[in-house]
Amino acid sequence: MKKDEAPQDNIAMYHGGRKALYAVADEGKFEITQSSGWSVEEMATLQAVDEFERLEREAYSEFSEGKNSPLGVWMYRRRMSIATLSQCSDFWQWSIKRHLKPDVFKRLSPKKIALYCDVFDITAAELFNPKEPK
């Protein structure tokens, strides 16, 4: 990649920032050059963000129908999967899967609720009543 071939796609998620790339300068030497983003990279990142948002919306509609506990909504809102949440909370993956059921979630001890609140950085009231995703 030559220095003037470094992508300058001004991608929105950099918020005006730029990233360092290595490219060939005039005398054939590699140098750091600033790039305002590559649309290929932007697409891949936004795809990952969108996937979490899609899962969050899905979890929310199941929550409002009473088929799912609010835990799923917060999990995806914090960009976590069951595996990530398990690593961050010390709960086993199978217990988290149980806690996703509304009946089981209702019976959770205050101690366990406090643990989830700590992981998500929210209050218990917020945990039980997540706002509708945008």
Partner: protein
């Protein structure tokens, strides 16, 4: 140690921090050089280790490995500290900063307030340098950002004590001592040979050139996956691992090309310039591969055979570079 800190913009967090700390400790070294002698370059494809349901794809060695390898190769004395609670970690950091030290930290990306929201994911092995503090927080030189940034005390505590894979546990490190004489040429030769051997002759099927072959076979099998969205998410995941997470382009291959061209000057071997431009072409091929993956992600018509073919070209041209380097008998 000089008081003033000069921020420099780098492509990758760990090599950037190592370069910055060493430079301020009195041994100026570029990011590419730190990455190269730290044996940062590799390829690994681990289908058993999942990141949000996707296999781990890595273009560089595991976290901390650059720091530790550079320490060993140059004979430095690096002090790494971990903490059991945020209070003592913060107090200790304040003490070090007040004493005029520049401190490297391992943190999570998700909790760093200055990261753009779209780019915050649960990745715990980010590196940055703390070079001072003000009333509300720490002054930070994050190598992947163009300018110095700041983070409030509480926010940085959270980032330093995030849990999960690679949990940082407040890890911080300082360079305590640099030997009077450093044989850079020797370190370079050792590092290049080690990288070539790993890529060419690894006994593990998921590492090096064999790993690239394994990923290629996985791509060819994508159309048989029961979930429709999986193929698109999978290819997007590869692009992110290769281009988004601060690799300097082409999955660190372009940075390695920069390293090789610096080596040509240090060792006085013209052939390394050839190796450098060969590696540059490898980096470009990886970017072409990313481009063809992205067309598939957008939902356009695509053929996995074509994508796999692009990947095969990356693999073959990489092999030529390593064989060429081995032939130099450094």
């Amino acid at each position: 140690m000089s008081k003033a800190f000069v921020h420099s913009h780098a492509a990758h967090c760990e090599s950037g921090v190592v370069s910055s700390l060493l430079t301020h400790a009195g041994y100026p070294i570029s990011e590419a050089m730190a990455f190269g002698i730290g044996n940062g370059l590799t390829f690994a494809y681990l289908p058993i280790v999942k990141i949000d349901g996707m296999p781990l794809v890595a273009y560089r060695m595991p976290p901390k490995s650059i720091l530790k390898t550079v320490e060993k190769r140059l004979g430095l004395e690096v002090k790494i500290k971990k903490y059991s609670n945020p209070q003592s970690a913060r107090e200790d950091l304040i003490k070090m900063v007040d004493a005029g030290k520049f401190v490297g930290l391992q943190t999570s990306v998700f909790y760093l307030p200055y990261f753009p929201p779209e780019m915050r994911f649960h990745f715990n092995a980010h590196n940055l340098v703390v070079y001072g503090k003000n009333d509300t927080g720490f002054l930070i030189s994050d190598p992947v950002f163009e300018h110095p940034v700041e983070a409030e005390f509480n926010a940085l505590d959270k980032a330093r004590f995030a849990r999960g894979v690679f949990a940082p546990k407040g890890a911080c490190y300082t360079i305590e001592k640099i030997p009077e004489r450093i044989d850079l040429a020797k370190a370079i030769k050792k590092a290049i040979n080690r990288t070539c051997n790993m890529m060419l002759y690894t006994p593990f099927p998921w590492v090096g050139l064999r790993g690239i072959g394994m990923m290629k076979r996985a791509i060819l099998k994508l159309p048989t996956h029961p979930h429709k969205r999986y193929a698109s998410l999978y290819l997007g995941h590869i692009i992110r691992m290769q281009e988004e997470i601060g690799t300097g382009g082409g999955g660190f291959r372009l940075m390695y090309a920069a390293f090789l061209s610096e080596c040509a000057e240090v060792l006085g071997r013209e052939e390394l310039k050839t190796a450098s431009s060969m590696m540059g072409e490898v980096g470009d091929k990886w970017r072409v591969f990313a481009l063809s993956c992205s067309k598939a992600c957008k939902g356009n018509e695509y053929s996995v055979e074509e994508i796999a073919q692009k990947l095969q070209e990356c693999r073959d041209s990489e092999e030529r570079v390593y064989r060429f380097l081995k032939g130099l008998k450094l």
